[in-house]
Symmetry: C2
DNA sequence: GTGAAAGCGCTAACAA
DNA sequence: TTGTTAGCGCTTTCAC
């Protein structure tokens, strides 16, 4: 099982290495006869090009690096799923994917791009102030940011249309006739840190709710059963007339759905619940929850495509937002007639 | 931003390239003075080694490839999470991770290992008959299989102790005093395909249940709300005395928990439910469900460690099974006294 | 349509 | 403790 080289193939086919190289990457015309002999030799020898050598000589690695900062409070499963989809799409376009996970991502990133190990980069979970952003802005490496940094100018970004998502939730509840609504958000620290995701969703919701003439409020939530119970108790204590609930924190969704009935609000008769979560999650609750999708697959493949496009020299636009898709399921319904 | 090479560093530090190389990978002793000058030059120039060149010259890529076959019915989120953990651990050991996802994984695998792009391989989600297995057995590439192939001889495998998991569920229910128990499994096709995971769990459960003198049954389940309802109706129709439920299908867990009360079985007073799922999932249901853990993090990091160990020349044993960890939560409780 | 030859940036004998 | 030298397997001018 010793390494078969291009030279071996050339010898066997009775041609020069140059020719073999060109047969493989089709960068110049080759007579049908030679092509066949080379192909035969390749098959017989079981030749596979050495990617490192190729990268060295051609000065491009054909690799897209994906950096995933993993410091604490991330929603790992979602990110992981997006990454998988990035990989699928990238491979479909003939690129390999290098997965950089960890805490010192900036160093890794530098090493990998400077070291010619990757010729494009996808940054997962970019926050408002993200050290990786300066890194990619500095070097001229093609990159795609998932998330919105404070200053996205000159960068290719991809994100959920969070504002739109929040607005869609508000619209849905307004359409159903709700007046007193609340958004149950992420943990308090998420807001203190101003992660753009949470902030923007909240913003879109509050604005649209106001526009639609609803009374809207907000409460952060830790996501555990206890904290969700506490949050709900508080909400219903202060505003018992609340009938519309938007749930951002993934973990809180099942709890809200099971707690509301215990608090005398049958879903969806007495209260409507809308969640922001992947469709897969939405159908696993009972009742299934009306949701604005967080489309992991779409995010992942789009990111990969944006990266590939840059590698192929296309000019891609700045910020791409993936718009809201609300699916009505069993947790939301028109308000009961006020007094019937 | 032009590429800084080892030669540049050498020139600047006034030493030979060899010396720089050795300073970097510490494979021979260097005087403190030289080391410092080289370090200084590296810092000043912002040097980063070219990984492709390194791989070419040293004949090792320092990369671990992870192959994930994605054909249809996989539980993507779980696999994705394991992969992330593999990456974290591999990086911690100084290895990069190449993510091979797709459908023609065997070809990819061949190309990447033969092409010297990776010097070890982790195969995710290995089934009884898996084409990748022959591939790695043929070449002598260090590999770790997640899952058990029909013939694991000579291979390094890592898997959940499914038999043990099934047995642990049976034991727990037996300890609580249940007599009529059922395992709600994966989709029927999963069993037809004899995916070892499902088969072995079922096996462990049935055996242990028999040993503990319980009456045990089994029903496959599609995981949707409807199919779960159907499955439960059937179970309780045929054996209304069933009080112990083991749920394998992740998606069915919330449905079982919410359907049982509707069928007159309050959980955990009238019926105990045990699930096989990640702890994170277990705490998101209500009530939280007693579960045998599917430890994604542990699986991932262990796999990476096994790969690294082989790369460092250690001899690692054949099959590693990760034993059952059952956590009692709110969905299981001792049987009520028969007639109190 | 095909070859010869000069590297790409790094490592690792071998020498000193 | 340090330097010289010869490649690793491939791409790519330039010449035929």
């Amino acid at each position: 099982m010793v390494l078969v080289t291009l030279a071996d193939v050339a010898r066997r086919a009775g041609v020069s290495p140059t020719t073999v190289s060109y047969v493989i990457n089709g960068k110049r015309s080759i007579s049908e006869a030679t092509r066949e002999r080379v192909a035969k030799a390749i098959a017989e020898l079981g030749y596979h090009p050495h990617l490192g050598a190729k990268a060295l000589a051609s000065r491009r690695s054909n690799v897209i690096a994906v950096t995933v900062p993993l410091q604490g409070d991330k929603h790992v499963p979602l990110i992981a799923e997006i990454v998988m989809e990035v990989a699928v799409t990238a491979r479909r376009h003939g690129r390999n994917v290098l997965l950089l996970t960890g805490t010192e991502v900036v160093d890794d990133l530098r090493g990998v791009t400077m070291g010619g190990a990757a010729d494009a980069v996808i940054l997962m979970d970019v926050e408002l102030e993200d050290p990786r952003v300066e890194q990619v802005r500095g070097t001229q490496v093609p990159s795609v940011l998932m998330g919105l940094p404070a200053d996205p100018s000159g960068l290719v970004c991809l994100d959920l249309d969070c504002v739109g998502n929040g607005a869609a939730c508000a619209d849905h509840l307004a359409d159903l006739g709700h007046h007193e609504v609340v958004l149950i958000g992420e943990s308090e620290i998420v807001y203190q840190r101003h992660k753009s995701f949470a902030d923007r969703t909240l913003d879109g919701f509050m604005r649209r709710a106001a526009e639609r003439g609803m009374n809207a409020h907000f409460r952060p939530c830790e996501g555990t059963f206890e904290s969700t119970a506490g949050t709900l108790a508080r909400i219903l204590g202060e505003r018992p007339g609340t009938t519309g609930f938007v749930v951002l924190h993934q973990a809180a969704i099942p709890h809200v759905l099971s707690l509301l009935p215990q608090l005398g609000r049958v879903v969806p008769e007495d209260a409507s619940v809308v969640a922001v979560c992947p469709d897969r999650t939405a159908v696993q609750t009972s009742p299934q929850v009306t949701n604005v999708a967080v489309p992991a697959a779409q995010l992942g493949s789009r990111a990969a495509e944006l990266a590939v496009a840059q590698l192929e020299g296309e000019t891609v636009e700045g910020v791409t937002l993936i718009g809201p898709t609300l699916t009505v399921r069993g947790s939301s319904a028109p308000m009961r007639a006020p007094r019937a």
